[in-house]
């Protein structure tokens, strides 16, 4: 069988791996077959039982407590953030998380509405979500997630 290495980043990728790997012990995926050439699946769509060979090398972050998959490395916007206890990453998306109650807080960068973000399985607080920002320069954070580096672990990569 010919094995081609995946072309380009695993962007707009979802889920077959996540669905498979979600509740089972971490599987070893290697670069496989043909990546999608024509049809990039839309972000957030789940397609099961398709006859294509798919690129399964996706880099996941998991909850430090229970290894629930919460984010993709490809969704990192910035690694230069400060969390409550050290370094934190800004993600455009997070999954399998629960968003807590909204709070208006004066942060270093001005007034924001933030909501704590918990792992959906074990309820460990992983970071927060920016709901709204007062300063124009901070608007780019709206709708995005801060996950603390100490609370997430790389899933086998």
């Amino acid at each position: 069988m010919t094995v081609c290495s995946p072309s380009g980043k695993a962007q707009n990728w979802t889920p077959l791996a996540l669905i498979l790997a979600r509740k089972s012990p971490p599987l070893q995926f290697s670069a496989i077959g043909f990546s999608f050439l024509n049809r990039q699946p839309a972000r957030g769509s789940a397609h099961l039982l398709r006859a294509h060979f798919i690129d399964l090398t996706v880099r996941l972050y998991s909850c430090c407590n229970c290894r629930n998959h919460v984010s993709l490395h490809d969704d990192i916007i910035s690694k230069a953030f400060q969390g409550r206890n050290g370094r934190a990453f800004l993600f455009s998306h997070a999954m399998n998380i629960v968003v807590g109650p909204k709070e208006d807080r004066h942060l270093l960068t001005g007034l924001h509405t933030v909501a704590d973000v918990h792992c959906s399985d074990c309820r460990e607080v992983l970071g927060w979500k920016y709901e709204r920002a007062y300063e124009a320069s901070q608007k780019y954070k709206e709708g995005k997630f801060i996950l603390e580096k100490s609370k997430i672990v790389k899933e086998n990569w």
């Binding site: 839309a42 769509s45 397609h47 709070e103 208006d104 007062y134 124009a136």
Partner: protein
């Protein structure tokens, strides 16, 4: 009724005697859905009548099913194919599905495609060209759409009353110009998060569309006083709901203009418009004292007691008020209520993060407000559950109080 006579006359079948119109009348008199479905089981003709009577459908369907639905329910008026925010069945609604809809549902008036993230301009152009009877289109969060698609809709659907484009961030003023040229009956326009919209676009829009009742430009941060003033003048008699969340460039000029012209304004959302000060809010409260029902001005840091007390006194029909993070507000704002004779109609009050309001102020409010249903006092250091029960505060029976947690918020102020 079949009339059976003696053997010399053939029995008459009701299907031969009753015409389509009469059968439709019979169908209309049936109340339960089960009866209507059973009506369609009688024979193919009755099935056809029942199917073509159907006005409304919610569906999740791929292209084959859509084709069959179009064939069966040819007179459909409302079609809801909206998907969920997060995951949906793959691939969801596609452009070819929209082409099928444009060909098959020629009487369609209402089309809901909210969160159908896969569709692009090609599909929407087909809708614009194929369904001229369309009155309401919702393509909120269909992120790939641009001016090309929506202008085609404006061009082809001149009967358009309601258009929702929230989250379509590639939309520019070009769409507003196209709407003003053809869609003069436009009443509802949702542009939340369409950050490329500017004052010029609004000016063009109200040039042609003066009957706008609902305008949502939340988070369109490029809008300024010029645009808002022109809108308030042009749509003065019709404008009822105006949403300007986080349009931080607008100021007192806009609010005064709204007060001067829009006498039927019911809902105004100006949260995050930091330049707004007491004077213009007072003039608005007085001008719209009878019409104003919902007012959201959270994060307006210059607001103080004078405007809040004026609002509570003047706006006799006020139902929902949000002054979160208006940190200058104190208990004094509620003192005007003491001398008030009639009850407040207020149902929803949000004073989160107002550190100067104390239990005393809430007491003055509760004395005159028995219809309160939701009170949000999060992050108010002087209003905690313990302090309230210590002071013996009596909340109305059906009132939910949000001290620290997340009660589900009423969406009247969103």
């Amino acid at each position: 009724m079949a009339s059976t006579v003696d053997d010399s006359t053939a029995t008459v079948c009701i299907n031969d005697v009753l015409m389509d119109d009469e059968l439709r009348l019979v169908l209309a008199k049936l109340d339960s859905e089960t009866d209507k479905e059973n009506f369609g089981l009688v024979c193919k003709r009755w099935l056809h009548l029942q199917s073509t009577e159907r006005k409304k459908l919610f569906a999740r369907a791929g292209p084959h099913m859509l084709r069959r639905m179009a064939a069966r329910f040819s007179r459909l008026q409302e079609l809801d194919l909206s998907q969920s925010v997060s995951r949906s069945f793959y691939p969801g609604v596609t452009d070819s599905d929209l082409c099928m809809i444009a060909d098959g549902f020629k009487c369609l008036k209402v089309l809901n495609l909210q969160n159908c993230k896969g569709i692009t301009d090609n599909g929407i152009v087909a809708i614009g060209k194929g369904i001229s009877s369309l009155q309401s289109l919702d393509v909120s969060y269909c992120r790939k759409l641009t001016d090309k698609g929506l202008s085609a809709v404006a061009e082809g659907c001149s009967d358009l009353r309601s258009l929702h484009l929230a989250g379509c961030r590639f939309i520019t003023d070009g769409v507003l110009l196209a709407l003003s040229k053809k869609c003069h009956k436009l009443e509802q326009l949702g542009l939340q998060g369409c950050i490329n919209i500017t004052d010029t676009g609004l000016i063009d829009l109200v040039n042609g569309c003066q009957g706008i009742r609902f305008l949502d430009i939340n988070k369109c941060s490029n809008i300024g006083d010029v645009g808002v003033c022109i809108v308030s003048e042009a749509c003065s008699s019709s404008l009822k709901i105006f949403k300007l969340l986080d349009c931080y460039k607008i100021g007192d000029v806009s609010i005064s203009s709204l007060g001067r012209f829009c006498k039927s304004l019911e809902t105004l959302i100006v949260g995050g418009c930091r330049d707004i000060s007491d004077d213009s809010i007072i003039s608005l409260a007085i001008a719209c004292k009878n019409s104003l029902k919902n007012l959201r001005m959270d994060w307006c840091l210059n607001i103080s007691d004078s405007s809040l007390s004026c609002i509570l006194t003047e706006c006799v029909n006020l139902e929902a008020l949000d002054i979160g993070c208006c940190e200058e507000v104190t208990d004094v704002a509620f003192e005007g209520l003491i001398s008030r004779e009639n009850e407040l109609t207020l149902k929803v009050l949000k004073v989160s993060n107002c550190p100067k309001i104390t239990v005393a102020g809430i007491r003055m409010l509760l004395d005159k407000c028995v219809s309160l249903e939701y009170l949000d006092v999060r992050s108010c250091a002087q209003i905690t559950e313990a302090l309230c029960s210590e002071a013996g505060l009596q909340f109305p029976d059906c009132c939910k109080v949000n001290f620290t947690g997340s009660l589900s918020e009423p969406d009247v102020l969103l």
